[in-house]
């Protein structure tokens, strides 16, 4: 294709967009809304994922040792825990550490440390982190078998609950993305169909003077993909801006509930490129498909 033909066809596409501006505006509106919903679904998924991760990290399995073990016995337990398959991190917490931790947590009761310093009621324990939370059940049973271990507290129910929440949110958000993608294709398809219909005489003339299908299709592609890209820009701006404000608000207005999940959302700076690139690819691909499927029929002159 000649360069002059190329620029001509691009100009034609943009001209058509303006000529059908009401229709273009409507379809871009629907596309933008679809993309925003897709973005929201994605961000929801990412955050639930992060929360589940956070919970997984926070709720280590606590292995309580029996009281009055000698240093040798503790060393034996230590190595037994470390050699248990699936264990990735082991931290020893002495009774003093536990006391120090609690007294620092409760500022008003800082004197607790003094009160219990010489009569420590806490047991020594190990904080064990496993690499696969679904194996937690099995690993905690193994840990319980070790000599000198008093009890094992594994956050089994919590991990189960969050895994299933994660699954549901993932399913719902992917399902939503799929549905919205189809909606977008239908919307673009419909818009292009209308503009094709409005220009069917021109198309017939183009065919009869010997224009190739590519030549006839090109302006519609320009029209469709430009609408898609503009929608992508709008949706990126709205979703990123909105999410940035939400993150800000969330961090500045802590609640007990939010503190439970780490106190902050996934940072915009970690996800913005996924959103923007995703929207652009989506806008481009969906509009391309929408355009291709809508003009095929009219090309058979």
């Amino acid at each position: 294709m000649r360069f002059s033909s190329f620029t001509y066809l691009v100009r034609q596409g943009l001209h058509n967009m303006w000529a059908n501006r009401l229709m273009t505006f409507a379809s871009m509106g629907v596309l933008t809304v679809c993309m925003i919903l897709i973005g929201v679904a994605y961000l929801l998924g990412v955050n639930v994922d992060a929360i589940v991760e956070y919970i997984g990290d926070q709720n280590e399995t606590v292995v309580y040792l029996q009281d009055g073990l000698t240093d040798d016995q503790i060393a034996a337990v230590d190595s037994a825990i470390r050699t248990t398959p699936g264990v990735v991190s082991v931290t020893y917490v002495s009774p003093q550490d536990v006391l120090a931790n609690y007294s620092s947590m409760l500022d008003d009761y800082a004197n607790m440390y003094d009160a219990f310093e010489n009569d420590n009621p806490f047991s020594a324990n190990y904080r064990v982190v496993v690499d696969d939370i679904s194996q937690l059940d099995q690993i905690s049973a193994q840990l319980k078998q070790i000599d000198g271990v008093d009890d094992v507290y594994a956050p089994l129910e919590l991990s189960d609950a969050f895994s299933s929440i994660q699954r549901v949110v993932f399913g719902v958000s992917y399902g939503l993305v799929a549905v919205l993608a189809i909606v977008s294709i239908v919307v673009v398809n419909n818009t292009i169909r209308i503009t094709v219909f409005a220009r069917r005489k021109e198309i017939a003339i183009m065919k009869l003077v010997g224009a190739t299908n590519g030549f006839i299709r090109f302006p519609f592609f320009v029209e469709g993909t430009t609408a898609g890209l503009i929608s992508a820009i709008l949706a990126s701006g709205i979703v990123c801006g909105g999410y940035y404000a939400l993150c800000d608000w969330y961090t500045n207005n802590p609640t007990t509930f939010s503190q439970m999940f780490g106190g902050q959302l996934v940072s915009l700076f970690d996800v913005w490129y996924y959103i923007v690139i995703g929207f652009f690819v989506l806008g481009f691909v969906l509009c391309g498909i929408g355009t291709a499927t809508s003009i095929r029929k009219h090309l058979n002159v």
Binding site: M1, R2, S4, S5, Y8, K201, E202, A204, I205, M206, K207, L208, V209, G210, A211, T212, N213, F215, I216, V301
Partner: protein, 246 residues
């Protein structure tokens, strides 16, 4: 230029078959001027559609410029169409474009450079006598002028074949005579011209070859319009010595 070999075209509807053309044999040479004459329903439109590659024949083969168009690949069809120019009965101009733009548009969409378009469009519009009305919209032109724009558009990419579909259908007799003069002039520089029409009067004025279609058959193929007239008057029987079809 154009060869029809045992061409049959049947339109199939749900529970009916409509035979539009049956066993047509026709040869049109390079540089010929041919009228295709027939009443409505005689198969003129189908004849035209076959040449324009809008339809494929059911049996036989249509050969244009040595190419069997039944065997032509779909993506080659546009290139084949660039070898001919068509003037439609209803002109088919784009109402939102000026005369210049209408001609330029047809050239643009066939991948011709802007420089060539700028040179060629005023030239062909000048040829049809519209050099001073290039920036008029179709609505601001008379019927005859619109038709000449359509002719200029058909001529723009220098085709070897010009097809005129009912060139007298939408304009007054005076204009149609001018149009025919233009087509003759085009023919005189070696371009093949096929005029599809139902008007006997037109055919009689120009002493050119006439192919008469009737009920999907070639009823007569003769160099003398008067003979075609006689034939029509005598109810369909052509004297043997005047029959050129075989």
């Amino acid at each position: 230029m154009i060869d029809f070999e045992h061409v049959t075209k049947i339109y199939e509807t749900q529970n009916d078959e409509n035979v539009a053309l049956e066993d047509i044999n026709l040869h049109i040479d390079d540089g010929e001027f041919v009228f295709v004459l027939g009443h409505s329903g005689a198969g003129k439109s189908t004849f035209l559609k076959l040449i324009l590659l809008e339809e494929k024949c059911t049996e036989g083969s249509v050969i244009i410029n040595g190419q069997d168009i039944g065997k032509l690949k779909r993506r080659k069809v546009p290139y084949m169409r660039r070898q001919m120019g068509v003037v439609f009965q209803d002109f088919r101009l784009i109402p939102t474009m000026t005369a210049y733009e209408n001609v330029a548009f047809a050239m643009r969409v066939t991948n011709i450079s802007t420089r060539q378009i700028r040179k060629r469009v005023p030239y062909v519009l000048g040829l049809v006598g519209l050099g001073d009305k290039m920036d008029r919209l179709p609505d601001e032109l008379s019927g005859g002028e619109q038709q000449r724009v359509a002719l200029a558009r058909a001529l723009a990419h220098s085709p070897k074949l010009i097809i005129a579909d009912e060139p007298t259908g939408n304009i007054d007799p005076e204009m149609s005579f001018e149009m025919m003069e233009l087509l003759s002039a085009i023919n005189s520089v070696g371009i093949t011209v096929v005029v599809v029409t139902h008007e006997h009067q037109l055919v009689r004025r120009f002493k050119k070859r006439v192919v008469t279609l009737s009920h999907g058959h070639i009823a007569s193929d003769t160099a003398h319009p008067e003979v075609a007239e006689q034939f029509a008057a005598s109810g369909g029987k052509l004297p043997k010595e005047l029959d050129f079809s075989h």
